[in-house]
């Protein structure tokens, strides 16, 4: 145990050539969400063969998102497993917060990655996750913004603020809802910011008073208008995916989600109608990044670093930005790239249906402190669902 910890510590300061040497020929386990064909296609048919070819690394993918990763880490901690089963994970702020809490991440490691130099860490949407500085404990993989999704043929004028939403659901009862998960709570955070009077109201550390005051207003708004929600507000979809299905089959007129609503992919696969569009709330919606981390007991930390470095390379990021493919926004800063790559990025296939990150930029809000999320979960259940 002692020795491997020492070796791991050395990795943090080792020159990249050493790391590359250690990484050569290793098998790296990557746990990630596998629920999309576009993402699986990118990973299985591009990333896996590429790292094999370039670095002779066997990249093995296992399925699992936030809760599974947290459970795995907690389980392995509990059982004192020194050689963990998973090396690297794909996480968002929610999981980052949880993993930090149980000290499940290894790092900092980001600065050592050669491709990290192409990322603008000045950008607070990249360097701060859930109001917590990332500090090199996780590498940004892509950046995206929460967006509202609608069908412009059915709804020519979608609501852009709370009063408009109120009128909209009175006109179209049963066509709007809040998913009782990360996505729904994120929407509620933007609502809370709006009720507080501006996009930056929730910035900074958690403020109990502010929360109490604003959430009161929020619950009042929801409860007063619940009867116009989906199923008259008697219940709410458990997950965002369920809400998306309801939108897809025509039950809901409005949906929402990260990754600019995930519209492009869903239209291309025939789930959403081609008349689907996305936009940002006028008071702003949350913009954040998602990240790649290395677990505290990863047996192949060097291999994982190598893979992450590859994932941050212009080549991999460009491929990932393809609107017909995984369609995610690069975290690379255009001004740090060679012109050759810059041009390629500018020439990359553009979205046909979904909004671009640029279009939403003006209405971006930073993710508030994690405590807001915890409290919203609890109080949404107490004050709305069980009410």
């Amino acid at each position: 145990g002692e020795k491997s910890t020492n070796n791991d510590d050395k990795l943090k300061s080792a020159p990249w050539e050493d790391i590359e040497a250690i990484a050569e020929g290793t098998t790296v386990n990557f746990m990630m969400w596998q629920g999309s064909t576009a993402i699986n296609d990118y990973i299985n048919n591009y990333v896996v063969p590429s790292v094999k070819g370039k670095y002779n690394i066997n990249l093995q993918i296992s399925g699992g998102q936030g809760p599974e990763i947290v459970q795995l880490v907690m389980g392995e901690k509990q059982a004192d497993i020194e050689q963990g089963q998973v090396d690297m994970v794909w996480i968002n702020g929610e999981t980052f917060f949880q993993l930090r809490k149980v000290k499940g991440l290894w790092g900092p490691f980001v600065e050592q990655l050669p491709n990290a130099s192409l990322i603008n860490f000045e950008d607070s949407y990249i360097s701060t996750d859930f109001q917590q500085p990332v500090n090199g404990m996780e590498a940004p993989w892509s950046i995206n913004q929460f967006a509202i999704v609608y069908d412009f043929e059915k709804v020519p004028n979608p609501p852009k603020n709370i009063p408009e939403l109120k009128n909209f659901i009175k006109e179209h009862p049963g066509t709007f809802t809040i998913s009782n998960d990360f996505t729904g709570m994120t929407l509620l955070k933007s609502f809370m910011a709006e009720l507080g009077g501006g996009p930056n109201v929730l910035d900074g550390a958690f403020d109990e008073n502010k929360y109490k005051q604003l959430s009161q207003k929020l619950w009042k708004f929801i409860n007063d208008n619940k009867q116009y929600f989906w199923k008259e507000g008697s219940t709410f979809p458990k997950e965002q995916s369920k809400m998306n299905q309801l939108y897809a089959n025509g039950e809901l007129l409005i949906a929402y989600g990260f990754n600019e609503g995930g519209i492009e992919d869903k239209v291309l696969t025939g789930l959403y109608p081609e008349s689907t569009k996305g936009y940002a709330w006028s008071n702003g919606t949350i913009r954040n990044s998602n990240y790649l981390g290395i677990l505290y007991n990863s047996p192949e930390k060097a291999g994982a670093m190598q893979v992450i470095n590859f994932l941050l390379s212009p080549e991999a990021q460009l491929k990932k930005a393809d609107a017909k493919g995984m369609d995610s926004n690069t975290v690379l800063a255009m001004d740090k790239l060679d012109t050759e790559w810059k041009d390629k990025f500018l020439d990359a296939r553009k979205r046909q249906y979904g909004p671009t990150l640029k279009e939403l930029e003006v209405n971006a809000i930073a993710e508030p402190a994690p405590e807001y999320m915890i409290r919203l979960y609890e109080d949404f259940r107490k004050n709305v669902i069980e009410n």
Binding site: V70, M74, K231, Q245, N249, E251, I385
Partner: protein
């Protein structure tokens, strides 16, 4: 010699059938008191307190209980009826294959399928729209994710009724119910009396244990209520997993409290139900 041989079997049984359960239960118990768990720091009653005072568990338990009860009652009733009326027809080669088919459909597929059919934008809603019964999706009746758990119960029915039909057909054969029925007839029983005094008691007596087990199985069902259930009250497994996987790591133990409470209640019920020597039970 004879005794010794049996004991190896029993030993294996305990090893595979009992030890894992006991270990899992103890693990959950320790977790519920905060004794283990990475995010916990030592023994506390706080999780038990908060679960018991919030009342969510008991609501959930009652809700699950009712759903499982209704589903088991209807499907046992239906399966008995089918066995009674269609026994001969079901024995043909084609039918005997057909009735096995539903066993190849797992809960998650049933849930998925039920949702596709019965949601407000689903298959039947579209047909209703085409036929002019409704003009908008929201007018379609609430059949999934609904308060009365219609969708869940429907799924449960399609899952367990075929099983019960197969079970009853078998018992019917093995216990010579056919011959006993004819005997009862010649003793003057009419069709109704045969069902009540021969068919039902023999079949139910032979199978009640399995019926109770299926009830428990439904009580702890996860996938179907996850897809078709509502947010409050939820069925127990959904509640437990939600708590265990929750965002707030400090409260994960509450999930284990619910699990332990649930296990205790059902165990006590099972002991009361199964253990007393039943006077009329005949050797099986």
């Amino acid at each position: 010699m004879r005794i010794k041989k049996l004991n190896i079997g029993i030993l294996l049984f305990v090893l595979v059938g009992v030890v894992p359960f006991a270990a899992a239960f103890i693990y959950a118990l320790l977790y519920s008191f905060g004794i283990i768990g990475v995010a916990n720091d030592g023994f506390t009653l706080q999780f038990w307190e908060s679960v018991i005072t919030s009342g969510t568990f008991f609501k959930s338990f009652g809700y699950s209980f009712l759903i499982a009860l209704v589903a088991v009652a209807i499907s046992v009733g239906g399966a008995l009826w089918i066995t009674l009326k269609f026994r001969q027809q079901l024995e043909t080669r084609f039918m005997s294959f057909i009735i096995y088919l539903p066993l190849a459909v797992p809960g998650i597929v049933t849930g998925f399928f039920t949702f596709q059919l019965f949601s407000k934008g689903g298959f039947f809603a579209r047909i209703s729209h085409k036929l002019g019964f409704i003009t908008e999706a929201s007018q379609f009746p609430d059949l999934v994710n609904d308060g009365l758990a219609i969708g869940i119960i429907f799924s449960f029915l399609t899952m367990i009724t075929p099983f019960f039909v197969l079970l009853f057909l078998n018992v019917y054969k093995n216990e010579r119910v056919e011959e006993l029925s004819i005997l009862a007839q010649s003793l003057g029983a009419n069709a109704n009396q045969i069902s009540r005094r021969v068919f039902l008691p023999i079949l139910l007596k032979k199978t009640w244990v399995l019926i109770v087990l299926y009830f428990i199985f439904l009580l702890g069902a996860y996938e179907v209520p996850l897809i078709l259930g509502q947010e409050s009250p939820q069925m127990l497994s959904v509640l437990i997993i939600q708590e265990i996987k929750q965002y707030d790591l400090d409260k994960i133990s509450e999930g284990y409290v619910v699990a332990v409470l649930y296990t205790l209640i059902v165990s006590v019920a099972a002991i009361l139900l199964f253990l007393p020597k039943r006077k009329r039970a005949y050797a099986t």
